[in-house]
Symmetry: C2
Subunit: 136 residues, 2 copies
Amino acid sequence: MKKLRPQLATPDDAEAVFYESFIRCDTPVMTALWADGDVVCVHPGSAAILGHDAVCRSWSNIFSNAQRAQVEYSVVKRTVSNDLAVHIVMEEILTEEAGVAIVLATNVYRRYQSGWLMIEHHASLVQRRSNDRTLQ
Amino acid sequence: MKKLRPQLATPDDAEAVFYESFIRCDTPVMTALWADGDVVCVHPGSAAILGHDAVCRSWSNIFSNAQRAQVEYSVVKRTVSNDLAVHIVMEEILTEEAGVAIVLATNVYRRYQSGWLMIEHHASLVQRRSNDRTLQ
C-alpha cells in the first residue's frame, strides 16, 4: 500500500506530528511519519526495533494496549545539519494507571524530497531516584 | 586549561576513543573527546546532563566509583550527513558486581575543524523482560 506522506517543512513540524499521533494513538499518521528502510526505535527499557514495518507494528501494539495518555514535551536541544536533525526531548507522560512519568527521547529526522520524516526514536525512563552509581 | 583535542578523521574513530576511555576509566581522554558548549549526556535511568563541564564531571564521578568494566560494542546503525553523524550502538557491559548488562546508546558526533567530537550520548538499559506494555 502506498503511504500518503506528510509534507513537513521542518524537523519541528515532524516532531509535532509525532507527538500528535502519540497522544491520539493514531497508527496511520505514525506509520506515514516514519521513513522507509532501516529506521530504529527503542521504547523505554526495550531492545532496538529495526525497520519501518517492525517499528510501526510496535507503535500499533502500544496504541492498542494503551489508555490515551496526556503528553507534554519540551525540546532540550536541537542539532541540525543540512538534511539530518537530532532533537533531545523531555516528555511528561500522564496516565491514570501510572501517574506522571518523565521520559527522555532522542528523536532523529531526515529530510527527503517530500519533507522531513522520522528515522530514529530512542526513549528512556528517568528513574525517580538516580545517582552517580550507574553502570556507566 | 586548553584541551588537547584528538584528531579524529571519522565518527568511527571518535567512537573507538569513546569506548576506549570508558573501558579504561580515562577522564582526560573522555574530556577531550566531548565538544565544548551545550552537549548532552543521558546515563541509563538518569536525567539529561547539559554542557561540556557537567557532562565530563559526570563521567569522572562514574569512573571514580566504578570498577573497570569489560565493554564490547557493536554499531546497530550509522547515519551520516556532512558534519553530523548518529550511531545506534549496542553495548555489552560486564562487571563483577552486576554481571552482564545490555545497554543501547545513541551516540552523536559532529565534525569540527580539528576532526570529529562527541556531542551526545544517550544510554538506556535493556530490561531482561520487556514486552509491549510500556509507557509508550
